[in-house]
Symmetry: C2
Subunit: 314 residues, 2 copies
């Protein structure tokens, strides 16, 4: 039996799990904090993998989900915003040299769509659009049974498209990106700005409300909080409609914490999305659904990558 | 020797040309008006193909570029806005039944990128973004050496993305699409609207200026005309930047008459495009260039489709 090792590098945790040739239940798994006074993250990650290395079975491949722009063809992580020192890191080479098995890596949002397609909500689909909406907005696309990567693996940055020219500032420094309007950060920034203008709201007692606080206030009927989610949902609907025209997917999957805010967000989103496409053909076989894989999506995306690249499908 | 037949269905002309197995110089070609009192377009198209049918050589395949939303997998043209009666037309079946050879069809903008990739400006590239800017805006994408089609072949409608919510009305009925802002029609509509508001301009003597008139006025320094192109270029730059993030292409090709307006349009476009990407990685190996195939792009795209599908690359 061969073993596959999946690694999920997050800003908070480093996770590693081992799997057999089939199935999605880990044989072994472990996690440690990404930041620690006890050495560099890369050294602690290598140790974590070594600790889980099977004593009898052969390791077929390692797949790694990383939280930043990545060139999967070269195996290089360009940057990981929350991990100091991880810039232009040749992660594949480093781990292949250390462990002597094939290593592949991918951006976490790209691997999330791979995981959902291989194991989750998009099984059996050929054209998949995935958006994860949390503090930021990431994305991934399957086109005709292949992961969209682009020339240098930088495709699929679906949160960094301008949907409102000269709109609010995005974390990336540009203005009016979908992420600046519809992410948790974008929703909170809108509320803070409106409170500063003197808008009445139950949220005014909270000096720094986050998306969860705003969601709770909206469920209590607070008009500003309701408007904040409606605005986020509107731009999400505009962006997804654009993506229908660009990709003509058969399934749209929404993941991430903010996507779980329910109809506060998805009501206004669907109102735009379901009435704005060029023709009814775009809706005829379209499913819009929530992500299925939950917190394990990073590991399972990395597992899918490890198994797929061994079979040379990508 | 096998012969390949390429067909370019336009709103104005029906063109047919025959080619040998290699090269892009037609062996024979003919064109007729799309509209005529002498019978239905489909019957006249069949006659035109029959007239050019080689007497000695075997025909390997027919490729057809059609001017509207198309399902290339089913071989159905959903609609051709300028050709009465061409709705849900099973063009592949019709021509395969008549001629007994494989027939494939594609949307003209999709086939334009295929032609440019196979024969033109994008030879040797693996990730190609193509936009044609004329009265409307169409597009096509090559992702990792494959034409982006989507579930029903409706992908690549790159002109029908919202770049200015609640912006000007698009020909499709939605508001703020790239086509409504940056096409020739969009440029002219802006000028007409500004003239109506009383803006001074040399164009006020022209009751219905088109993009060419406005381009000429802009070259003479007319401020309104210059602004009209700058506005179109701005939104084009925003949209192309979005597509860099979505597709990470190595080449962006601009075709269509309006794209030949020179720096009036491309100056403001490049000002946005070259400063707004998420990281310098998107520009490192990026070429921005004009289409190479000119008026024959429809025929050559159809030829590429015929040859490629015979080799089962797509």
């Amino acid at each position: 039996m061969s073993t596959y090792i999946a690694v999920d590098v997050g800003g908070t945790q480093l996770r590693v799990a081992t799997y057999t040739e089939e199935g999605v239940t880990p044989h072994q798994q472990a996690r440690i904090p990404t930041k620690s006074s006890e050495g560099q993250a890369i050294d602690r990650l290598v140790d974590l993998i070594a600790n889980l290395w099977p004593s009898h079975d052969k390791v077929a491949a390692i797949g790694i989900a990383v939280p930043g722009p990545t060139n999967p063809k070269l195996g290089i992580l360009y940057s990981a915003p929350n991990i100091p020192g991880w810039e232009n890191l040749p992660l594949r080479q480093l781990l292949e040299d250390r462990f002597g098995v094939p290593v592949n890596l991918g951006n976490d949002a790209n691997l999330a769509v791979l995981g959902e397609w291989y194991f989750g909500a998009a099984r059996g689909h050929h054209n998949v659009l995935y958006l994860t909406i949390s503090t930021g907005i990431g994305g991934g696309v399957i086109c005709d049974d292949r992961l969209l990567l682009g020339e240098d693996g930088l495709a699929g940055e679906l949160g960094h498209v301008t949907v409102l020219p000269d709109g609010p500032l995005c974390g990336c420094g540009q203005r009016g990106h979908l992420e600046a309007l519809s992410s948790g950060t974008g929703i909170a920034a809108f509320v803070v700005e409106e409170l500063r203008k003197g808008r009445p709201s139950a949220l005014k007692l909270n000096p720094a409300p986050n998306a969860r606080d705003i969601s709770q206030a909206a469920e209590m009927g607070d008009p500003l909080a309701v408007e904040a989610f409606a605005r986020a949902g509107k731009y999400l609907g505009i962006a997804i409609t654009n993506y229908l025209h660009v990709f003509n997917p058969s399934i749209v999957i929404l993941g991430g914490g903010v996507s779980q805010s329910g109809s506060l967000l998805t009501g206004p989103m669907r109102a735009i999305l379901e009435t704005s496409a060029l023709s009814a053909e775009y809706y005829k076989r379209l499913t819009i659904t929530r992500a299925a894989l939950g917190d394990d999506v990073g590991l399972l995306g990395a597992l899918a990558l490890a198994r797929i690249t061994q079979r040379e499908v990508i």
